[in-house]
């Protein structure tokens, strides 16, 4: 008789019955393993949390008083015969793929991930497994990213050009992850970098855990935006076009997201610039990551799941779609912010 699978999919989330733990559950559970601190993966209300040590400061800031156990990447915790370990996912600082293994059945739940080393997050490591659960936010061959250095040059050229025209540059980026990544890509010899409070909170937390970021000036009521003409302003997407954004006077605005690859999405936002950069894997990244796991059984979650799963089946994998409450990279500006 075949034994029950190590992992099942429930309406509370991805579940391991043998260890009685959930991974990134979306309804309250007793024990939750958390891949990373973004709001759709780390939710409030669980009895006990486990995440990597470098994900912990953000988790504690967001979720407040929680019972939290932290682990180092690669440490193995054994619960009822299930070996559990966390491995870098390259998505944001502290993000992890979670490996659960029992008697040769090895599952890796990758959460959100990207392959390229962004210089801030612990770089993605492929983990061998028999069952791989992958997101596919950008699981179509039209999504291909340029190397980070190319986008950095685009951003800095744009900034310098705006500055020469007497304009402030403003980039909309998620408060946790994308904003710090952009910040680290800026050529700060061009000018000053101003930040929205929501982004500065993340900056502060990450700096405290020894992530090196360029100096920033938080825009507070005491700061006169007009005194920083030609600066770069980093803001959460929702702040673009707001009264707050208009207080900087003449400015040019850009948005940093994988969705900017599509002309239609770019045009819908009516922004001056779209920078194609994402903390999720592109098509080639997803295909390579899956290949490197050696897994035969692939479960695809949020994104273009039906198309991606069909493609995987076509090239010989057992691929199934799993419905989850994860959101991936929202294409809208008003998405809920992680912080």
């Amino acid at each position: 008789m075949a034994s029950a699978p190590l992992i099942t999919f429930t309406d509370r989330g991805i579940y391991c019955p043998r260890a009685d733990v959930y991974v990134d559950p979306w309804k309250p559970v007793a024990r939750a393993l958390i891949t990373h601190g973004h709001a759709d993966h780390a939710r409030a209300g669980h009895g006990h949390y486990m995440c990597t040590a470098s994900a912990a400061p953000i988790m504690l800031h967001r979720l407040g008083e929680i019972t939290l156990q932290t682990v180092q990447y690669g440490d193995v915790i054994c619960i009822n015969g299930v070996d559990i370990s966390f491995h870098p996912a390259g998505h944001v600082v502290g993000s992890a793929q979670i490996r659960l293994a029992h008697k040769g059945e090895v599952w890796v739940i990758s959460g959100d991930y990207k392959i390229e080393n962004d210089g801030i997050s612990e770089p993605f490591e492929p983990i061998r497994c028999t069952h791989f659960i992958t997101e596919c936010t950008f699981g179509l061959p039209i999504f291909k990213w340029q190397p980070q250095a190319v986008i950095a040059a685009e951003i800095n050229t744009w900034w310098a050009r705006n500055q020469a025209a007497g304009k402030t540059s403003m980039i909309g980026a998620y408060s946790l992850g994308k904003a710090q990544r952009i910040l680290s890509m800026l050529d700060v010899s061009i000018g000053r970098v101003l930040t929205h409070g929501a982004i500065e909170v993340s900056n502060g937390i990450l700096r405290k855990q020894s992530v090196t970021l360029p100096d920033t000036i938080q825009v507070t009521p005491d700061v006169d935006p007009k005194a920083y003409a030609g600066a770069m302003v980093l803001a959460p997407p929702a702040a673009l076009g707001s009264k707050w954004a208009r207080s900087f006077g003449a400015s040019s605005s850009g948005f940093a997201s994988g969705w900017m690859r599509l002309r239609g999405v770019r045009r819908r936002r009516a922004l001056d610039q779209g920078f194609v950069i994402s903390d999720h894997a592109d098509w080639n990244g997803l295909c390579d990551a899956i290949k490197l796991t050696g897994a035969e059984n692939i479960y695809v979650t949020h994104g273009y799941t039906d198309i991606f799963a069909r493609h995987l089946r076509g090239i010989g994998y057992n691929a199934a779609i799993v419905e989850t409450d994860f959101q991936g990279e929202a294409a809208q500006s008003e998405e809920s912010e992680a912080i």
């Binding site: 291909k144 002309r263 819908r268 610039q273 198309i307």
Partner: protein, 530 residues
């Protein structure tokens, strides 16, 4: 093509009209004459005949990208543009070719007679050696249709700026059947053209919608009422023994409506008429759908001309005996129009749009309620003493449209949008009850706010029952009020009806599925309004 690509990028990245005009003017000041001519041609809808079918393009693109064709086909609706889909899936290219726009267009024209393997080699070679934007534009040159938010009018304005010529004169110069192969920039734009003055139209006066009831407009005796027709607003110019037909978008449509040439036989020269172009048979207007077939054709085949003849329903006279009448009162112009059209035979493709007599606003409201029977959209109210103004000015002309028909329906399928709405579920199928069954009867994809579309998108993602390709079946839970302008019997639809211009008026979150209307309700509407 690098300067053209730079122009395209600038146009594509801004929503500001002034910046677009500036970029175009700069291009017209710096590009060579051949490229300028081609750019004018492309932005005025004159692309060369398609040298390569889109089927071949798709197949080659999938091959080059090492993808199965079905995967390419899945990507296309998400991107919403074939040329863009191709340029996104192709492997990276070198950026080594630097030929002019004219070079590429001439090469494509020459290619149309070549065998398929030669076409294939040419296209793939271009894909391999053009950078991202140029590759997209190259595909656009093949597939046609440059929608970059640049109207012909905007382009003409930029050309006027760059050449120092009068905009209206240029607008006329750009009309007609020229192609870059039959003319030159010099001939088309710069040579003397005495004909320009003859064709020049007057700017159209546009009405505002009445806000609420019209009685705040004052005594009804100050006002003239007529039907608001569902056709194409047009201006017909008869001058110097020739005629011109202009649309409200100031596009010259003379060739699309050849029947108006006959007006020269019935009316004197030096006349300019404002009115509605309508499909017309048995002395009454044809539905707009019939006229639509005429609009899309630049030249009209004889059969279409017989099946859907047009007339001008004239309602204003802007010029008589070569004299500009726009300063005189509407009532005076109207009297002159009536006199001019009096006693014309039925064979003249023109009618006088009738006045509607009413002594009170209530009486007028009764007339308005009958608009659908007259194939009209409602009423127009024009102040008797008003001059003919330019543009959309509040005060003297009002449209008092009928309220749309509405029905409450249940959403049963959702599909993601194209292009700008690629990652939102915005296209829904709606059903009404037939006993315990839900019968789909219409699709709609506009009328909700962005926030509502996002809310529904999240709900669809979490409540999908079944997938049929890009279409998702969802539980019959959400009720929407669907507004539409007309209803007709249809054998092509399961429900037996087809709606004109359906859209979502509001999301009825106060209603549950069983509160939606029934097929009987729809059929009743069909009897009354169909």
């Amino acid at each position: 093509m690098k300067d053209f690509a730079a122009l395209f990028k600038t146009l594509d990245e801004t929503t500001k009209t002034s910046l677009k005009v500036q970029a175009l003017a700069h291009y017209f000041e710096t590009a060579n004459d051949e490229d300028k001519l081609w750019t004018i041609a492309l932005f005025s809808g004159r692309r060369p005949k398609r040298a390569i079918t889109t089927t071949l393009l798709r197949t080659w693109a999938a091959e080059c990208a090492g993808l199965e064709l079905w995967l390419f086909e899945e990507c296309y609706p998400i991107v919403g543009d074939l040329a863009e889909t191709i340029s996104l899936i192709l492997p990276d290219s070198s950026d080594t070719y630097d030929y002019t726009l004219t070079h590429w267009l001439n090469a494509l024209i020459a290619l149309s007679k070549e065998p398929e393997d030669l076409k294939r080699a040419f296209v793939i070679d271009a894909w391999d050696h053009l950078n991202g934007t140029e590759r997209f534009l190259f595909n656009k040159l093949i597939t046609g249709g440059f929608r970059v938010g640049v109207s012909q009018k905007l382009m003409t304005r930029a050309l006027a700026q760059a050449t120092g010529q009068d905009e209206a004169d240029l607008a006329h110069r750009l009309m007609g059947n020229w192609t870059p192969q039959t003319t030159s920039f010099e001939t088309l734009i710069e040579a003397d053209d005495p004909e320009a003055a003859l064709s020049r139209p007057y700017p159209f006066y546009l009405a505002h919608a009445v806000d609420g009831a019209p009685d705040q407009l004052g005594p009804i005796t100050d006002w003239h009422a007529e039907w608001k027709w569902d056709g194409i607003r047009g201006q017909i110019i008869l001058r110097g023994g020739t005629h011109f037909v202009w649309s409200r978008g100031e596009e010259l449509m003379t060739d699309r409506f050849p029947e108006f040439a006959a007006l020269l036989d019935f009316l004197p020269s030096g006349v300019v008429l404002d009115g509605e172009i309508l499909g017309w048979k048995d002395e009454k207007p044809l539905p707009f759908a019939a006229l639509q077939k005429r609009i899309t054709r630049k030249t009209v085949p004889a059969k279409l001309l017989r099946d859907t003849p047009v007339i001008l329903y004239a309602y204003d006279l802007l010029e008589l005996n070569g004299e500009d009448l726009r300063e005189s009162a509407f009532s005076t112009r109207r009297a002159q129009l009536e006199a001019l059209l009096q006693s014309l035979p039925e064979t003249a493709p023109i009618r006088l749009s009738p006045s509607i007599e009413a002594n009170t606003w209530e009486q007028l409201a009764t007339h308005r309620a009958q608009a659908r029977d007259k194939q009209a959209e409602g009423l127009m109210l024009k102040r008797c003493a008003s001059p003919y103004l330019a543009g959309r000015k509040k005060g003297d002309w009002w449209k008092w449209k009928l309220d749309p028909l509405t029905i409450d329906a249940v959403m049963i399928y959702a599909q993601s949008g194209h292009g700008r709405r690629a990652n939102l579920f915005t296209d829904y199928t709606f059903a009404v009850w037939n006993g315990n069954d839900l019968v789909p009867f219409t699709k709609a994809y506009s009328g909700l706010s962005d926030a509502e579309f996002r809310q529904i998108t999240a709900w669809v993602r979490q409540n999908t029952l079944q997938r049929f390709g890009p279409v998702r079946q969802v539980p019959a839970e959400h009720v929407f009020e669907i507004a539409f302008e007309g209803i007709q019997r249809s054998t092509r639809h399961k429900s037996g009806v087809a709606l004109r211009f359906p859209r979502m008026l509001r999301w009825r979150q106060d209603k549950v599925a069983k509160d939606a209307n029934t097929l009987d309700d729809l059929n009743e509407m069909l009897v009354i309004y169909g």
